[in-house]
């Protein structure tokens, strides 16, 4: 075989594979984008759900060509270069088979570009979406406008929220073995086992735990923040659509971890206001027995999580700041 011939042969193999790859990748990407894309979890109920759905779909557009590229290559190799076929030429060893500068350099360059691009893309998304609905710790730096003001106000007695005011709504999520409860600092700090949210509102979830580590996962809202004892883990989202959503614990927390779920609702702002006002007065007697609203709570000396929990700002144990439990600057 002359070298010219083998060059031709080479480009032939590569051309065939590339053609198959381009066709299949295009088809797969288009199919995914139009057919599956709109159904990709977690839906479009909130700003973060929407952008995280887009992010997932966007990554799939890269992933499918990668998968298909390798599969096409493997398939092609299995079919054309199997020793079982007659007329498969003897392979050629030596230097030519050991390395190929062009192939190596382009492989490394292409993978590096893709990877760096995706990391940049993810970074922009996290920053623009105020943490993408993920837990941002006690002092979030990527917070939506008005959030720090609302959060600071939440600790004072004159915290308030009203419809059509564009205010950020702080909500506290308290996890304990094995349930979630919610406190609304802008409504006197009442505690509810239902999570009701107004639509068209930026919500600041302040997630904490009374015992072990849990994770607050509001699936359709695309919010997930670990609940650590004595840590206030903050996550943001904007509610966009009315509807029900599921809350599940997504960090193993013991025996009934799997049963640690409940449901929530996004309702209109006026319905929310009605519900909040009604619940605030209905629960007034209960609220009086709760510790004053604080970002974190220390279980009482008997470790009776789930029962009484004293105020985290005047704890019986820690007068000093504890690793990881800094309060938001006010």
């Amino acid at each position: 075989m002359s070298s010219e011939n083998s060059m031709k042969n080479e480009t032939n193999h590569l051309r065939k594979m590339t053609t198959i790859w381009v066709i299949l990748s295009l088809a797969a990407d288009l199919l995914f984008w139009f057919w599956v894309g709109p159904h990709v979890p977690p839906g479009t109920m909130t700003s973060t759900a929407k952008s995280n759905q887009f992010d997932f779909t966007f990554l799939v557009l890269f992933a499918l060509p990668v998968l298909i590229g390798v599969w096409v290559y493997l398939g092609y190799a299995i079919v054309t270069w199997s020793a079982k076929r007659d007329n498969v030429p003897e392979p050629i060893g030596g230097e030519v088979a050991r390395s190929n500068r062009k192939a190596q350099v382009s492989w490394i360059t292409i993978t590096s570009i893709v990877v760096l691009f995706l990391a940049g893309f993810g970074t922009v998304a996290v920053i623009n979406d105020h943490g993408s609905g993920g837990g941002e710790g006690p002092n979030p730096i990527w917070n939506p406008g008005g959030a720090s003001k609302a959060e600071a106000a939440a600790l004072t007695s004159n915290a308030s929220w009203s419809p059509n005011s564009n205010q950020v709504l702080p909500v506290q999520v308290i996890a304990q073995q094995w349930k979630f409860t919610y406190r609304y600092p802008t409504f006197g700090g009442f505690e509810s086992s239902e999570l009701i949210l107004p639509v068209g509102t930026t919500v600041a979830f302040n997630v904490t735990s009374l015992d072990v580590i849990h994770s607050f996962w509001a699936y359709q809202l695309s919010v997930k923040a670990d609940a650590n004892p004595q840590v206030n883990d903050v996550a943001y989202t904007d509610t966009k659509q009315l509807g029900n959503f599921t809350v599940r614990c997504s960090e193993l927390c013991g025996l009934w971890h799997g049963s640690m779920f409940n449901y929530g609702k996004v309702v209109s702002q006026s319905d929310f206001m009605n519900w909040a006002k009604t619940t605030e007065s209905a629960n007034a007697a209960n609220t009086a027995n709760l510790p004053p609203f604080a970002w974190t709570y220390v279980p009482d000396a008997n470790g009776a999580a789930g029962g009484y929990y004293p105020d985290g700002t005047v704890t019986p144990y820690s007068t000093v700041e504890v690793y990881g439990s800094k309060q938001p600057a006010s």
Binding site: I78, S82, L116, L252, G254, G258
Partner: protein, 654 residues
């Protein structure tokens, strides 16, 4: 070509027996009742446990820390620690250090012959390798049974086979056992067996440390298994505090189990790294080292550097449980974040401990079945080193939603995605090696090809997980579960199978049955994918991990996955059947070099003599000169003939 002139004279002297030592015969090797073996180890382990337990109770009085358990954590810790000590004493691991300690000359250890050597503290790396084969298969079988139990429970969201308490024990025990197994599954059996053969050494650098690493691995199995009679532990393999602090006595087994296994990991890693660096035969330069050895070197580095963090983390946890320290107790000034940081600082290098050896195996096996040299050898070696280094800088991608260092998420997203560049090199290498090859689809080759298929899905979903916005949806759910089963089971375990089918003929002199091997391969490949692929969807649809009830609409997918998992279980039974059949029931003698490999390990005599090489070979080139006309000989064995790879079929020397 005459090279004998260059041969260093010391090695040419054909001294096969080790330097004689004074001090009589070791207890480990005495015949009959007066010797030390697995039996005496078990007896002393039980005695040690009883003694330790009594002592623990004695020193801690009626003080009872663990709520509601009636167990004393101090007694449990002492019991298990002394049990492990008794085990080591019984097997003879301490004879040498103790003798040296009191200033005596240590006893001379000779290898006993016959079956009983597999139950003793053997210093022969070939014996240790085979001991490890049985050891990891025992781990795998136990962990596999637990997996079947998990899938049985998940058949229905409402009808339960187990109580939630039993279920969480099973899940935790499954995860921990499998992770411990996966850490050693290739380094232990194949690393120990093959590394000296591949680098032309007569033994490991520290044969006693090597034997120690195996026997403490077995002790670790005992310790982690003791969690079950103690009532199990509820934390999964990740052992997060404060759940850890809150848990019952089974948690002691987990913490101590990881510490004990950790000692074995450190010992094995250290011994193997030193061996590879210092015991290479003359002429075995770094650019001639087989790629499998490179992968084991990178893994050994990770084992030595990452495991101490786990070890320390486990001891802190034990202290919290016994001595009332507060490393992980937030109310008392500790932090639950500390455990998460320590665990994952070890945990991420750990996942590459579970990936790199697999890459090494496919790199080593593919040239044999493609009859081509390994493509881009240098890139492959550099990739492994790169992965090993980078793996220390990504650990917080497990903690994106935890609130730890939230502002560092972009950095950890970047480092995590960067690591897929060197990881991807293995694809460049594999695909380049396949190019215009003449592929023989023997069973080991099929397992290699399957690794490329499976690991691709695992790696690509890893990039999804490392994207913080996508991580919000998939973290803590079945998507993660599926991701790491695709990398560990689809990658490492498939590579292990490839390695076993490939090297068992050399290790045992018997061929694995090809027909059963094919059935095993196809069932494992198909059912593995059918079991785990649906779990990506289950995770995306909102099912968290380690749950015992789930949303009703996910029952269909869960049931399908369970059914396929049972079939996957059957596939493992086919493997065991093949192993029994081919090794014991109807063995077929293996040819000296059944796959026509050029590797140095295949050029040794069969069966391999106790000291591997009659003379230390002088390495003349790398072992990948397949299909190369006029290729240089691989090595000079000093026996007059040169091993020639000088043919297109790459046949081995007569």
């Amino acid at each position: 070509m005459t090279i004998s002139a260059e041969r260093p004279t010391e090695v040419a002297a054909s001294s096969v027996s080790p330097p004689a030592q004074s001090g009589g015969t070791s207890w480990t090797q005495r015949p009959g009742w007066l010797s030390q073996h697995a039996g005496t180890a078990i007896i002393l382990a039980i005695l040690g446990y009883l003694l330790g337990h009594w002592m623990g109770n004695a020193i801690s009085g009626n003080y009872d820390y663990i709520a509601n358990s009636g167990q004393n954590a101090i007694a449990d810790t002492f019991g298990l620690s002394f049990g492990v000590l008794g085990w080591l004493l019984g097997i003879g691991a301490l004879n040498y250090p103790l003798a040296k300690l009191v200033g005596k000359e240590a006893a001379h250890e000779e290898t006993v012959e016959g079956w009983s050597k597999y139950f003793r503290y053997s210093l022969d790396h070939k014996v240790v390798g085979l001991q490890y084969v049985v050891g990891v298969l025992l781990f795998m079988f136990t962990g596999g049974l637990l997996a079947m139990a998990i899938r049985t429970e998940l058949l229905s969201p409402t009808t339960h086979v187990f109580s939630p308490d039993t279920y969480i024990k099973i899940v935790s025990e499954h995860g921990t056992i499998m992770m411990m197994m996966a850490t050693s599954i290739i380094v232990g059996p194949l690393g120990n067996y093959l590394v000296p053969l591949m680098i032309g050494a007569r033994r490991m650098a520290f044969p006693r440390i090597e034997a120690f690493s195996f026997w403490i691995f077995v002790a670790g199995y005992g310790v982690i298994f003791s969690a079950l009679p103690y009532g199990g532990f509820p934390t999964g393999w990740t052992g997060y505090a404060p759940l850890q602090t809150q848990a019952g006595p089974g948690m002691v087994s987990y913490l101590l189990g990881f510490a004990v296994i950790g000692m074995g990991m450190m010992a094995a890693g250290f011994n193997i790294a030193v061996t590879i660096i210092n015991y290479r035969a003359p002429g075995m330069t770094w650019s001639r080292v087989p790629i499998f050895v490179w992968s084991i070197l990178a893994t050994a580095a990770l084992l030595t550097l990452a495991t101490p963090v786990l070890f320390a983390g486990g001891l802190f946890g034990l202290l919290d449980k016994t001595a009332q320290t507060a490393f992980y107790v937030t109310e008392h000034g500790g932090s639950s974040y500390l455990w998460q940081n320590l665990f994952w600082f070890f945990g991420h290098p750990e996942v590459y401990i579970m990936a790199l050896p697999g890459f090494g195996i496919v790199g080593e096996i593919m040239p044999v079945f493609t009859r081509k040299p390994l493509f881009a050898y240098k890139v492959a070696a550099a990739g492994m080193i790169g992965v090993a280094l980078l793996s220390f800088f990504v650990w917080q991608h497990h903690l994106f939603q935890s609130g730890i260092n939230p502002d560092m998420r972009p950095l950890f997203m970047l480092t995590t995605e960067l690591i897929s560049i060197p990881t991807g090199f293995i694809y460049l290498v594999g695909m380049g090696t396949l190019y215009k090859a003449k592929i023989r689809f023997e069973v080991p080759m099929l397992f290699c090809m399957a690794l490329f298929f499976n690991f691709l899905i695992g790696g690509v979903t890893g990039v999804f997980l490392s994207d913080v916005p996508v991580n919000v949806t998939v973290h803590g759910g079945f998507f993660v579960l599926s991701h790491f089963h695709y990398t560990i089971m689809g990658g490492l375990l498939f590579a292990f199978m490839a390695g076993l089918y490939f090297w068992l003929p050399k290790m045992t002199g018997k061929m694995m049955n090809k027909k059963l091997g094919l059935v095993h391969f196809w069932t494992m490949f198909v059912f593995f994918n059918l079991t785990f692929f649906p779990m990506f969807v289950i995770g995306l649809l909102g099912q968290p991990r380690r749950v015992f009830t789930y949303a009703k609409n996910l029952q269909g997918l869960n049931d399908f996955s369970s059914m396929m998992a049972f079939c996957l279980g059957l596939s493992f039974l086919i493997f065991f059947a093949n192993l029994m059949w081919s090794m014991f029931i109807s063995p077929v003698k293996a040819p000296a070099n059944p796959w026509e490999s050029l590797g140095l390990e295949w050029q040794t005599a069969s069966p391999i003599p106790a000291h591997n090489f009659e003379r230390i070979p002088v390495i003349l080139t790398d072992p990948y000169h397949y299909s190369e006309v006029g290729a240089p000989a691989l090595a000079d064995f000093g026996d007059g003939g040169l091993v020639s790879s000088n043919s297109t079929t790459g046949s081995s020397p007569a």
